[in-house]
Symmetry: D2
Subunit: 139 residues, 4 copies
């Protein structure tokens, strides 16, 4: 599960393939077993009350899984989510970015599986957790 | 599980509580066991290639569950998602709205559970399915 | 999604491939979109208090998915579960069999996805629901 | 999330409350954030081919969550599973016990949430992962 793309490669890919959301995310680190991604929280991610919305948290988990996989298999844009199970546990802290620590548990020929924990920047309490399966297109 | 809010009540609630997304959704019908909601697909919901994005489908499933529950318990805005498991099965058809048929399977004192199927308007093939659990705040 | 195995074929396959659990299950009907399977509840399926245990309900959902798929693709024993998300909603009624109504939502080349509702025999209230993904081995 | 029961307390509880499965499991360690539990694999846990069955892995994840929670809240037998999402990733190794590392991510008043990884004894490759939600009965 050695990375074949670095942060710059992944950012360039994101800007080119998903221009409409690339500004939302910052890749913090490609870790030994996965990736760490930041959701740069802006007004469009919030629910009334100032907490980050569920769809925004889903998007953070989903893009983290995608980037963790692409970092290891290269820029196969057609890699797609087949399943996500997400648990929302606590309200994110208002006015803070969200960080997602994703770990890849299996990178097979056809399927990749991993899970992640989301935390408000500066906190060590899990706001949400998610597990995701991606389908990798044949060569 | 008799409804205590009608479509007009739910729409008014949505506009007031979630003004930023209320335009995305149209409540089609409060059904015997749940609700049918339309995602009025616009550019902001799309991925490259013209298909509806995963977070937009998640948002449709999530809002449908929320509205199906509120229709039966009244406007308790603090009712929150605790879990969602979603399977993405086929690409939505380009240029079509998405319809979500949600059915409520349990409406307890503390937890509500249901599931839904998402289809492109005019098609009967499932694009995605999701099951959701909501936590209902005490009186 | 036409069936290529009938109830007798599936039962014979189950007895041969899974002799240790074949007695637990009865195939009630191969339906237009899936299958209906009965768990013949015995002492070994119970928790204290007389309700059916979680693992027994999981097993019923899992075998139903497996049989619904095999009925359509033939006896590929190596078809395996990759994901199951299950919600437990009510206690099963004591001293009753459990029935599982499974519907196949996608039968692809590589993945099959479906979901089911479990009810106590004679009741129409959902005891549990589950969604499952199976991986189908290449030819 | 300090433990209020130790391994001996939990074992005694398991033998008394779940005599029919208590022999299947050994509590290895109450960890800082969760628990580590062993499935003592016997013939009744196997599928043809000698690998551990899906329902047996589900049972290991489920009992681990249950014991991790009870270790912190005391012996409330009525604490029940409301959701489990489980991913099966690799075949367990034949003739090996399975170990489950469970971590508690939230222990609320009403709901507890955590996740786990299952590995064959002596291996560090994940065989399965699961996330579980438990409902805690009111006092």
């Amino acid at each position: 599960m050695q990375a074949v793309m670095n942060i710059e490669d992944l950012n360039a890919f994101l800007v080119q393939a998903f221009p409409q959301v690339a500004d939302d995310f910052t890749i913090e680190e490609i870790t030994a077993s996965g990736i760490r991604v930041r959701l740069v929280v802006a007004d469009r991610h919030l629910r009334p009350g100032g907490t980050v919305s569920g769809p925004s948290m889903f998007a953070l988990a989903d893009v983290s899984a995608y980037l963790a996989i692409l970092a290891r298999i290269g820029p196969k844009a057609l890699t797609v989510t087949t399943n996500c199970s997400i648990d929302f546990m606590r309200k994110p802290e208002a006015g803070r970015d969200l960080l997602c620590d994703f770990r890849l548990l299996k990178l097979g020929r056809v399927l990749a599986v991993g899970d992640c924990v989301l935390m408000s920047d500066g906190s060590d309490r899990a706001v949400a957790r998610a597990s995701l399966t991606y389908s990798i297109p044949p060569e």
